[in-house]
Homo-oligomer: 149 residues x 4
């Protein structure tokens, strides 16, 4: 699907808001792609974010996918809106093992209030990408709660 | 619903496995309740886990709820099983603002292979609890992949 | 949770709207309980709504649970609103075998625009109830699209 | 994604099982495409399957999407397996208005026991397709419960 951003400054707006997500900084995620309706985040493997078998924790994978979805939605929102997650669902398809992980957030349908996004998450290992998880989420544009960014 | 653990050592088994979840240690979550089919986790508010508006990141709330679900399921599994998340869905109902958060994982239906759990997440503020999120997840007992704990 | 309906005429409004759901009439579902934040629907077993093994089709169970959620949300909406399903998730926990099925829709959190509901679905057999499925859904109050009821 | 069916007779097996889904016959759905990991179902608009505003009921759309997912998964299962829905989530993106609807079930990841599928549902109107809903579901291969087809 191809989308057109209504706010020409969406790139800077997304990057500036993402930079305020302390949680993403703490876990080490960074933005590697921003386009209208699209945001990719990259998360390096980190020992301190694993679950009991040494794989990355499913919840951490979910957190990165949630941010990828939220910012994909945010690329298409008006400049004055804030974005909030209404709900998301994550299916885990393979253990989160690898050197790094890429969550590719994509808008599936952009509405005035609600935007539906998906994020496929891939593990990178030895130059190969493997699909390990997939999310579908609903994101909300909020303009009247005194939130910004 | 009332469940009976088939492994008398489920308490120690759950706590020992949880202690191996580096991700939970990193974000500061701890177990505050374990019973057959029930696990509660407590997460203090932490500046470094917030999203762009200063609330706890929805993905971090999801990570704690996922662990609460997984370990609630794990209380009922046989001693030799490992637990993996198949999928989970999180609805966010209010901003994650508060001094701490409690995720109450509860088994809804325990099957031989798959267990369905819910987790309500509450924000604690000034001695009051407020429901901020709810998860339903599917957890899987795995016995043949060389995983333990 | 206890809710108070803001529209005193919610009972009649819910029943009148439900009566317009041709799909519910076609599959044979009827309302058996309406209270603020609560709607129960009853669906008799019907051979013509089964899947390939003779159980009721998971999608039909989902349809009844979706209506139970939607009308539970609708009990709390203002008189002039219409209700639409934003999304729902259904976990199937046991085969849908029985003489009839009850879907108990309950509001978990009522917001101005979005309402989160759950619906547990029970199979009735020989006087006993057995939990077979559980739904969490997001319902939306719409007031500006020319929809009514 | 490209998949290879392990059972050469998957086409006949899928069609024969689908023919046993009385629910699909009752609502008027038919198979219009079967390939490894892919099943498309077509549902004509029917007045008797509408909700209160005259659109097709979200639960009926969900039922067709669930069958599309289940049979997409079933194409890749061994001949002796039966398929059951573990869970599914449906996001509704536009009112289900149109002359007919196509649910395109696609396998995202096929496992030994669990298969993750998606189904996009499109409304057909005046020769155009419009995306109205999207599902992600988990399907299970069952070989030990005396179920067949």
């Amino acid at each position: 699907m191809t989308f057109k951003a209504r706010d020409a400054g969406f790139q800077a707006r997304v990057r500036s808001s993402f930079a305020k997500q302390a949680a993403m900084r703490t876990i080490g995620a960074e933005i590697v792609h921003v386009a209208p309706g699209e945001v990719d985040l990259r998360l390096p493997f980190r020992e301190e974010l694993t679950q009991q078998h040494g794989f990355m924790h499913a919840g951490i994978i979910g957190a990165v996918a949630d941010s990828a979805c939220g910012y994909a939605a945010y690329t298409l929102m008006p400049a004055e809106a804030a974005v909030l997650s209404v709900e998301y669902k994550l299916n885990l398809m393979a253990p989160a093992a690898g050197e790094a992980f890429i969550a590719r957030g994509r808008v599936k349908r952009a509405g005035r209030t609600l935007t539906v996004c998906t994020a496929d998450v891939f593990a990178l290992k030895g130059g190969e990408e493997r699909l390990i998880a997939t999310m579908t989420g609903t994101m909300m544009a909020v303009t009247d709660r005194g939130l910004s960014g």
